[in-house]
Amino acid sequence: MAEASIEFKGSSFTLSVLHLKTSILADISADLAKKVAQAPDFFYLVPVVVSIEKLDCSVDYQAIKLLVESFDFTFVGFTGAITKEQRNVIRELGFSFVNTTKNSILEKSITTTVPAVENIPAVVAATPTPLYTDKIHRGQIRSGQQVYAKAQNLVVIGSVSAGAEVIADGNIHVYGALRGRAIAGATGHHKAQIYCQNLEAELVSINGNYWLSESMEQHWGAPAFIHLTDSELTSSKLT
């Protein structure tokens, strides 16, 4: 039998959440306009989930959606701890309702005015961020070899040769030279980082964002670590 042409898998995404503190459309519109004017490029087509947690029952969902879209956001759905009735209304209107995990450690409040835009992880498939243990590999990882730390961090005591591949669902630490490929946060973990004592990698990737050697010039041949800031890879010197 031929393999299925589709596959369903759970993944976590970082989405911007727009918290509404009022249902008065004119007020929301005014504050949104101010916010977007500060950084139009940043907000352009950004997927956004609208939190109605702080609102009462009298919400015009359709109007809010259209308002958000009028500022060139990509409307994803609604979120917030609301009643069953509200949820049913939302569903009947054909909008999606997104559940969130309750921890907001990553919360980065941009503003205190109404509306507030925050980054909190919206876990679509309800997989909580796990605590990773370490998989330790002693010795050099040679060209052609692949080491995968499934649901773990990977610690390599030795070098990773050109043509070798190290993958971890968590962080990757290389106590030696990193000359091959390193893929951290392989199953979707944007906080994953890659550390090495000598950065000469062919490729580094965190949560699907990758760099080839040419992007690593700044810390080439030096001890460095790679992390994600706002969905962009950044390298920093390891002191």
């Binding site: 040679r142 060209s143 052609g144």
Partner: protein
């Protein structure tokens, strides 16, 4: 117990057969009983380098298939009586060997010989895996050049995972780095990887550095392993390799470019 040493590299043309011949003959000249086995079935070369190509009657594959005895296939070297060569078959391919029968042949040879040198074919396929499977030690032959170094790295991974010692969880194969075709002048000019560069990438102990030398080609064509050319740098460097294999501490030579003397500078020599 015989020491089974595989001479391997991954990449072709880096000097595996030249090194096998030189080291094998060198060990024999020191009084050890040595047998050289050509694992490159279908691309028989070792007999040419050893200068015994006209004496091949039976080969390794005949022995494996039970068509000839070991004694019928082994060729005694005419220069050193303690050295024998087991040639490869030129008409067969690498699938002609199987682990079980190769193991039996090596066991039989181990009863008579002190050193069994396995000259591996290039690549990482069945033939190369067969040559390294039973090894106790490996001489990883590498040219100071990126693709060769990477292929050697790959083979080192195979030695650590695909050998008999790895499968049985025994002490790992002892790895030696042999750097061949080294040109100190080109290293100084930044055209070639240095010994340090290669050591840094492969991180295995250095057994020897053989300088690029006209003597090697001459020796190959003449069927006289280059170690017999005691005047040449390459011959001397192979002699050092043999001494190191036997446990002696020998300083590394031919690592720096020769400084031109005043006369050659004056006369443009």
């Amino acid at each position: 117990m015989a020491r089974i040493i595989v001479v391997t590299s991954g990449k072709g043309g880096v000097g595996k057969t030249t090194s096998s011949a030189a080291i094998g003959l060198g060990l024999a000249l020191k009084g050890h009983k040595v047998v050289l086995i050509d694992f490159d079935i279908g691309l028989r070369n070792l007999d040419l380098i050893m200068g015994c190509e006209r004496r091949v009657v039976y080969d390794f594959v005949n022995v494996i298939n039970g068509e000839a005895t070991l004694n019928q296939a082994l060729i005694k070297d005419k220069r050193v009586s303690s050295l024998s060569i087991l040639p490869a078959s030129q008409t067969r391919d690498k699938d002609a060997l199987n682990k079980e029968n190769v193991g039996k042949v090596l066991e039989e040879l181990g009863k008579t010989y002190d050193y069994i040198i396995c000259d591996s074919p290039a690549g990482i396929e069945a033939g190369a895996m067969m040559a390294l499977y039973y090894a106790d030690e490996a001489i990883v032959t590498t040219n100071p050049e990126v693709s060769s170094v990477r292929d050697s790295d790959r083979i080192l991974g195979m030695l650590a995972s695909r050998s008999r010692r790895a499968e049985l969880g025994l002490e790992p194969i002892k790895e030696h780095l042999l750097l061949t075709r080294y040109s100190p002048k080109r290293v100084e000019e930044g055209e070639m990887l240095s010994v340090e560069d290669v050591e840094d990438i492969l991180s295995i102990p250095l057994l020897g550095v053989i300088p690029e030398s006209q003597a090697v080609l001459k020796a190959s064509n003449a069927g006289e392993p280059v170690i017999l050319d005691t005047e040449s740098d390459a011959g001397k460097a192979y002699q050092d390799v043999v001494d190191r294999l036997l446990g002696e501490t020998v300083e590394f030579r031919f690592l720096t470019a020769e400084k031109k003397g005043i006369f050659s500078r004056m006369f443009g020599g």
